[in-house]
Symmetry: C2
Subunit: 249 residues, 2 copies
């Protein structure tokens, strides 16, 4: 648990130094651990939003269900991701969150939001954090809107790979990606059938392997080029990630 909070703090400090009390606010706010199985909803649409939480294991996703029963996945929540720290600001959530694999989360105490409000640095860091996720959402719109199925899948895997690498979950050019082909299809607005075919095409082209929930990318650069992936939108670089002038202020 300490490892997770340390990592989370490091991640938030990417956007500006946090004081010791700020760091304590995070550490002391961790209340309980909850576990979910695949397809379990962590939060349902229409729920009164409640606590913030941190994903510690597994993949989850934000999604909306359409009247015809189809599902659009709106974004992935990976280990280390902080969920809805400001979520409690809006009355009703307009989408749901569910587990894609078995998932473990750390639920933050309800005082957390008050402590955040009291700290300028913490508020600022969480706003930055939210901005990054908004940037990811924008990139997904571009992905779904303007890329071929081949590029879309490649791009999604580039994003996952890069985000997992940032939290130390990539080894030997490989990482665990517990997504079904249907999950990928719903993320990219493709049919599962077409994802299957395109996945084989990607494998044949040698750009990636994806089997048994294991993603292997031999030559990341080659895949990135083929998929039009540019990691700027993930705002991962420490130091470059924040506007120096804003930090100074």
């Amino acid at each position: 648990v300490t490892g997770i909070t340390a990592r989370l703090i490091a991640r938030l400090e990417q956007f500006g130094k946090l004081s010791v009390p700020d760091q304590q606010a995070i550490e002391e706010s961790i209340a309980i651990v909850r576990r979910f199985i695949p397809r379990d909803d962590l939060v349902k649409e229409g729920d009164l939003v409640d606590r913030a939480y941190v994903i510690t294991q597994g993949f989850a996703c934000r999604y909306k269900l359409l009247p015809d029963g189809r599902r659009q996945i709106l974004g992935l929540l990976l280990p280390g991701d902080l969920c809805d720290p400001r979520g409690l600001l809006l009355a009703r959530r307009d989408h749901s969150i569910s587990a894609l694999s078995s998932v473990e989360v750390l639920v933050m105490a309800s005082e957390f939001s008050e402590r955040v409000a009291r700290s300028v640095a913490l508020s600022r860091a969480l706003s930055c954090y939210a901005l990054v996720h908004e940037a990811i959402l924008r990139e997904w719109l571009v992905n779904v809107g303007h890329r071929t199925s081949f590029e879309r899948i490649g791009h999604l895997f580039c994003e996952i790979y890069t985000r997992l690498r940032a939290v130390g979950l990539v080894a030997n050019n490989a990482c665990e990606v517990p997504l079904t082909q249907l999950d990928i299809a719903d993320s990219l607005a493709l049919s599962a059938v077409h994802v299957n075919r395109t996945l084989m095409e990607l494998r044949r082209s040698g750009l990636l392997m994806f089997q048994n929930k294991e993603l292997l990318i031999e030559d990341f650069y080659a895949l990135a080029v083929a998929a039009g992936f540019d990691d700027t939108y993930l705002h991962l670089e420490r130091g470059i990630a924040t506007n120096p002038e804003a930090v100074a202020s």
Copy 2:
């Protein structure tokens, strides 16, 4: 100008009462007026982000250009919209903003962000505001991903109509929408040719008229049903828009 700030304050107060000093912080932060002609960039990708501003007249959009020259519009900025109040938090912007019609904006003074940081209520209101725009972005993803061209265009017009109505720019079931068919195409990830054809289909079906930058919706409810539009994601209702528990805290 006072009308605009009054409206902006009212809009932010949707998310919680603002004190008199908070309101003054907004009023006194307005620095200069700038004007842009269509296709002018207000902010370019890669720019060091700078000031916040308010659109007072015209339509602008966030967009990304793809390597092949195609453009994906990521969201519309309508009169009354506040732009990037937290924008200066991230070092480099990952997208551009340009004028779609002739546009007039009020640029906020650079102290604005400092004054926001000092006020808990203002920070909170701006976070809510950002959350609403994120919700709109999510709905766009659903729109592009899972709806037919007929529904997509209908949905976009429903959103524009509803947002303009909220700022008093709808009269006699009509409003000015200075978008070209190409703008619509780039917003919805369709070709301009197909937008043209679908627009005629919409007109023939009697659901809407769109000619000479003028949008007319006789029976909004009928269009909303046909397009699968549900305005929840715009979080417009005053009072219902915020979580009472969070307000209390």
